[in-house]
Amino acid sequence: MFGPHVGKAMVLGGVAASLIVGCGKGSTASPGTGGSAAGAGGASAAGNGGAVGAAGISGAAGTPIDAGGDAPADDGGSAAGVCAQAPVPRRSTGTILELPFEAVFEGQPFVYGEANTVAPGQSVIPTNFRFYVSEVALIEPGNRSIAVDAVSASRGVLPYGVFLFNAESADAQTLRVLAPPGSYDGLSFVLGLTPACNQGSAAGRVFPLSADSQMTWPIPIGYLFLRYESVVTGAVDAGDGARVPRAIHMGGDIRNLNVPGGISVRVDGALSVPADGSVRKVVRVAMDQIFAGATSDVDLTGFPFAADADEIADGERLRRSGAGLPLFTFAP
């Protein structure tokens, strides 16, 4: 266990992390015990320069989320303040909605592990790309959100209610949710983790919150929410001010883990979920937009690790700007 580390000066980038506001002893909740209830108000992190959090209470664009199922949502692992390894299912019936993620760059396939031309004379070979998805909801006409569980192919709720996309594994690229039949205008999710899941130690936790997720950061600054690494050939600086990041390590709001720090994502488009069988809708991951967010002109003054690692600074730029970017879209 990591108990002895509580309150000690764990150092990241030469800065004592114990100095981070809100990242002290109170942030070391044990798995399943819920941790701090802070953030339950759907508080916006905008005041700290963060993305608008949607976890638990507020849906995309501030729409209310209806648990909408046949089980109390607040017993589940995805409710604010709780990170249960085995969340109580929101519903026992429904249709599997498969949402495979496919990376693109300016609309063209962005192939993992191979060279992708991103500018004349410049190519990118992605070598690591993974991200968490939490708090998935379907958006009904009228902007009402219906929270749904992320499930396995056998319909069991994923541990902690969390999906980890991993470009390295073909088995880890399709998000499945158990959806009530109906017609929807889109879906929403949080790119990241809820505050409760973002806190505490990976020790004792199972995948996808274990160390082999490759998404852990040293305590007490939470998990990586998105991890991207690459080999860039050609000029990194294309000369027009554009820059292709070699690595992006985005976490939550590492200055205050008690607030939702992930990026609230809304994907608009018609979704028809039949009563029987399954349905599949491809979700594109716009790498050009991720790069744009990671290299956007964001003032990181006061961000504790901006000067220590380019990948963390680029991750924080993405986190703060991502809510305003079309990072995810449905394929035509």
Binding site: M1, F2, G3, P4, A9, M10, V11, L12, G13, G14, Y112, G113, E114, A115, I125, P126, T127, N128, S201, A202, A203, G204, R205, V206, S210, A211, D212, S213, Q214, T216, W217, P218, I219, E229, S230, V231, T233, R246, A247, F305, D308, A309, E311, I312
Partner: protein, 358 residues
């Protein structure tokens, strides 16, 4: 002394075993025709390294190879049995030496007919919690892994079918397989038994483990500073070696690869971006498992620090988190102190891991 270093190690190992036998006999613990054979010390225990995922080694075993004492004991016998090589000279334990955290002190191991491989024999420590095996991850389970060195022409060079025939001809093995797996030896049960032994090699008693449990008696200021540095962006070790497990089980190009060299993970996946990637090893007992890296090219931990200080060998496929470091002499000393605190002397000298005396 044999000219072959591996043969020399085997000789030394046999000398140790003989000395242990003498010592046991002198202490009145030897066997005699009138006494039943000694009961071997149990191999399966409930140790879990600090900071690891919940669950014992037994709980990590696959459902079709539940970890039992009979299976682990059988696997131990097989692990140290030179019958499993074509020339009857090489066992798993020839290249995976307990004193060295079940790694090989040679950069690359010597197999049958003095053949040498291309990669360093990795340490076998806490693999019950592993998610893939070999430096390139080509085996998804310990059971899959266990048969490959037997068949590898540069290692033991024996078809598994031939290994089964040899083992099956021994009545004591036949009884042991029947006890452990309820039937005669098969390729599958042979691999499962060896995997069961590897699964019980749990190191959970280093000063670092005790530190994580709240006992800092052997974890002083230098170790603490080294730990903080290890987990800092300044050294960046945590990118691949997170606290607790000290491996994220991933594959990364850490700058050892040079053009035209061993392409590692790329050979398995075919992906260009996996060129020069190798499995991130756990670091329990790292000070005892020199030399380092997939090719054993770095002789000491000081050499490892030199490698990372210069940011690797400069290949284009090097992971972007590998950057030149600026470390003071004191910081290097602190890092080495921390890495030294990962040594579990009780594991390295555990008599349960020694070869059978007969």
């Amino acid at each position: 002394m044999p000219a072959n270093p591996s043969a020399a190690r085997r000789t030394n190992g046999h000398r140790r075993a003989a000395a242990l036998a003498v010592a046991l006999a002198a202490a009145g613990c030897g066997s005699s025709p009138s006494m039943p054979p000694p009961v071997p010390a149990p191999l399966v225990d409930d140790g879990v390294p600090a900071g690891f995922p919940a669950g014992t080694a037994a709980s990590r075993a696959p459902a079709d190879n539940a970890l039992t004492e009979a299976r682990a004991q059988l696997g131990k016998r097989l692990f140290f049995d030179t019958q499993l090589s074509r020339t009857r000279e090489i066992s798993c334990g020839t290249c995976h030496l307990a004193d060295h955290a079940f790694s090989d002190p040679d950069a690359v191991s010597t197999g049958v007919d003095q053949r040498t491989g291309t990669r360093n024999a990795p340490a076998l420590v806490n693999l019950a919690w592993g998610t893939s095996f070999f430096w390139d991850g080509r085996a998804a389970t310990l059971e899959e892994q266990a048969g490959k060195p037997i068949e590898n022409p540069d290692e033991m060079d024996l078809a598994l079918a031939d290994a089964v025939a040899r083992v099956g001809a021994d009545p004591t093995y036949a009884r042991a397989f029947d006890d452990a797996y309820g039937g005669p030896v098969t390729e599958e049960s042979l691999r499962k038994a060896i995997a069961s032994f590897v699964r019980v090699l749990v190191s959970a008693g280093s000063p670092y483990d005790r530190h994580l449990r709240g006992d800092d008696g052997d974890f002083g200021d230098a170790e603490r500073r080294g730990e903080a540095l290890f987990l800092s962006e300044k050294a960046g070790c945590f990118h691949c070696h997170p606290a607790g497990t000290l491996t994220n089980e991933g594959f990364f190009n850490n700058g050892v690869y040079t053009d035209g060299g061993d392409a590692g993970r790329q050979i398995v996946t075919g992906r260009t971006g996996d060129t020069g990637k190798f499995k991130v090893p756990g670091l329990r007992n790292v000070a005892a498992s020199a030399p380092y890296m997939h090719d054993g090219s770095l002789a000491t931990l000081d050499d490892v620090l030199d490698h990372y200080t210069r940011g690797g060998n400069g290949n284009a496929f090097t992971d972007p988190t590998i950057q030149p470091l600026t470390l003071t002499a004191d910081e290097r000393a602190d890092l080495l102190a921390f890495l030294g605190a990962l040594t579990d002397p009780a594991f390295l000298s555990d008599p349960r891991w020694r070869a059978l005396l007969d």
